[in-house]
């Protein structure tokens, strides 16, 4: 027989094994943000329905708005960090090579095969909720860009973190405008060389051609060679990126990068719980020698390392080889994600062919 003292002793012992509070509050704040966002989205949807009804009922007013040019929309349907609206005109000769999406910012890199390879065109879209301050832009030269108002700034200060391969801030030409959806768009050309050592006269005409190709499209899911399934509670997607380059997909789960622009480092920041990367098999995707072969993940060979790829503060990395891709699932912060959760995420992921974009699916499955 047992006694109540035995029961209390067990309660005391188990209570002493309770999880450490470290990291809990960060996850709580993320969770609360997610709840508020869902509520805002519901409100915005209702408002959008109302606006649509009014637009139908009062076509004359709508027509008058059109005659005066596109008026900034006051209602923005919530965009998830795995969804994109920023793109280029398919008839322009330009093609998007990389795209990234984060809370209320998006970025694309895009190219035109006939333009200089020394620069990579880049566009950033600031959702209306981003609080983008256009004052610096508006101090520039007011221009007409394909029939709408825009501004050209000869020396817009971009932080070094926005320039891959350039540590320091660069003051370079930029064109910006406000889209009818209320989204602010900035277009600039990222030098594909050390700009300070080999300055090249900025080509204003080329930059304007770049800008004319940029569009805000209907919202669609970002595609990648991996499609993440249901995610563990408290580890929501925060940032996603897809590219035709070495790293074809990057997903950051959990955390809230601060400042907002930190997302453009395209890498983990404080508060990131899990980082997932998919790369085509090659010399840079060797499974580490310390990795242990573990049970297959969704039928694909898998390895685990207690050391987390890229950080000393993680709970380990799971490596999966599937269809010519090597995918790394890293528990980036040991307080925010466990190896078990990482395994669950990997098991729920579907894998496509890295070399065949036609097989790619939404980076986060709806």
């Amino acid at each position: 027989m047992n006694t109540l003292d035995d029961l209390r002793r067990i309660f005391d012992e188990d209570a002493s094994a309770a999880p450490d509070p470290v990291g809990v509050m960060a996850a709580v704040e993320q969770g609360a943000t997610r709840i508020r966002r869902r509520r805002r989205a519901a409100v915005a949807t209702c408002a959008a329905v109302l606006v649509a009804a009014v637009a139908v009922a009062v076509p004359v007013i709508t027509q008058r708005h059109r005659a005066d040019g596109p008026a900034p929309a006051t209602v923005q349907i919530e965009r998830g960090p795995h969804q994109v609206t920023l793109g280029v005109d398919g008839q322009s000769g330009y093609a998007v090579t990389s795209q990234a999406s984060y809370e209320n910012l998006q970025r694309i890199l895009f190219r035109n095969a006939t333009e200089s390879k020394r620069f990579i065109a880049s566009a950033i879209a600031y959702d209306p909720s981003s609080g983008f301050d256009p004052s610096l832009l508006r101090r520039g030269e007011r221009i007409d860009l394909s029939g709408h108002e825009a501004w050209y700034v000869g020396n817009y200060p971009f932080g070094g973190y926005m320039m891959e391969g350039h540590r320091n801030s660069l003051d370079i030409p930029a064109v910006g405008w406000r889209d009818p959806t209320g989204t602010w768009i900035l277009v600039f050309e990222m030098p594909n060389f050390d700009y300070r050592e080999d300055p090249e006269d900025p080509d204003r005409a080329r930059l304007l051609r770049d800008a004319q190709a940029v569009r805000i499209e209907a919202m669609h899911e970002m595609t990648a060679p991996i499609s993440l399934g249901p995610l563990p509670t408290g580890i929501p997607p925060v940032s996603t990126a897809s590219s035709d380059r070495r790293t074809q997909a990057t997903v950051l789960l959990g955390g809230k990068p601060s400042p907002l622009d930190a997302a453009w480092a395209w890498g983990p920041t404080k508060g990131t719980a899990v980082m997932i990367e998919a790369r085509p098999d090659g010399p840079n995707t060797k499974i580490p020698a310390k990795a242990t072969r573990v049970a297959p993940v969704a039928g694909y060979p898998a390895w685990f390392t207690k050391e987390t790829s890229g950080t000393a503060l993680g709970n380990g990395s799971l490596w999966v080889r599937a269809h010519g891709c090597t995918i790394t699932f890293s528990a980036w912060d040991r307080d925010l994600a466990t190896a078990k959760q990482v395994r669950e995420i990997a098991e729920a992921t579907t894998y496509a062919d890295c070399d065949n974009t036609a097989t790619w699916g939404p980076i986060i499955r709806p």
Binding site: F11, A18, P21, V24, R293
Partner: protein, 163 residues
């Protein structure tokens, strides 16, 4: 009371409570995170209550009971046997017949009643309020749980006399 003040004072207690309810560290953390996220959103109302802790503890209890009903998440263990922080607190093979094993297999309501009564030291009236049921129901749960755990009747009688 501000949310930050509340969590600074009560977060460890909530994690311990959730740990006793769920018997699993990760579930305990998830339970508390989910509940506090919802509490933060409506803290304007909760923070004005006389006993915010009791209210949040009730949220944790309800969340635990609803998890037991709807979430049995199958997990695939890694082959690496000992990942820090993942050791089961309640090994279910060796302790199948001991008190801890029996406690782990109790229905959620019964387990919640025992934790509230013998760890949180609540009266049956307070437990009834926390669980949203009648006092008689609380006593029924407690009685069945104690019988399952083979707690000596004499110790219960002494306890009841002192309650």
């Amino acid at each position: 009371m501000r949310f930050e003040e509340f969590t600074a004072a009560r977060l460890p207690a909530l994690l311990r409570y959730a740990m006793l309810l769920s018997g699993d560290r990760e579930q305990a953390r998830d339970l508390v995170q989910d509940v506090l996220a919802r509490a933060l959103v409506k803290w304007g109302r909760i923070g004005g209550l006389e006993e915010p802790y009791a209210y949040v503890r009730r949220m944790v209890t309800n969340e635990f009971l609803s998890w037991r009903r709807r979430r049995r998440v199958p997990t695939v263990p890694l082959e690496e046997a000992s990942i820090p922080g993942l050791e089961p607190v309640v090994p279910d093979h060796e302790d199948r017949d001991d008190l801890r094993g029996m406690l782990a297999r109790l229905p959620g309501q019964q387990r919640a009643v025992l934790v509230l009564r013998y760890y949180e030291d609540l009266s049956d009236d307070e437990i009834a309020t926390a669980l949203g049921c009648r006092v008689g129901t609380v006593r029924g749960y407690a009685s069945r749980a104690l019988a399952t755990l083979r707690i000596e009747l004499a110790t219960i009688a002494n306890e009841e006399a002192n309650r």
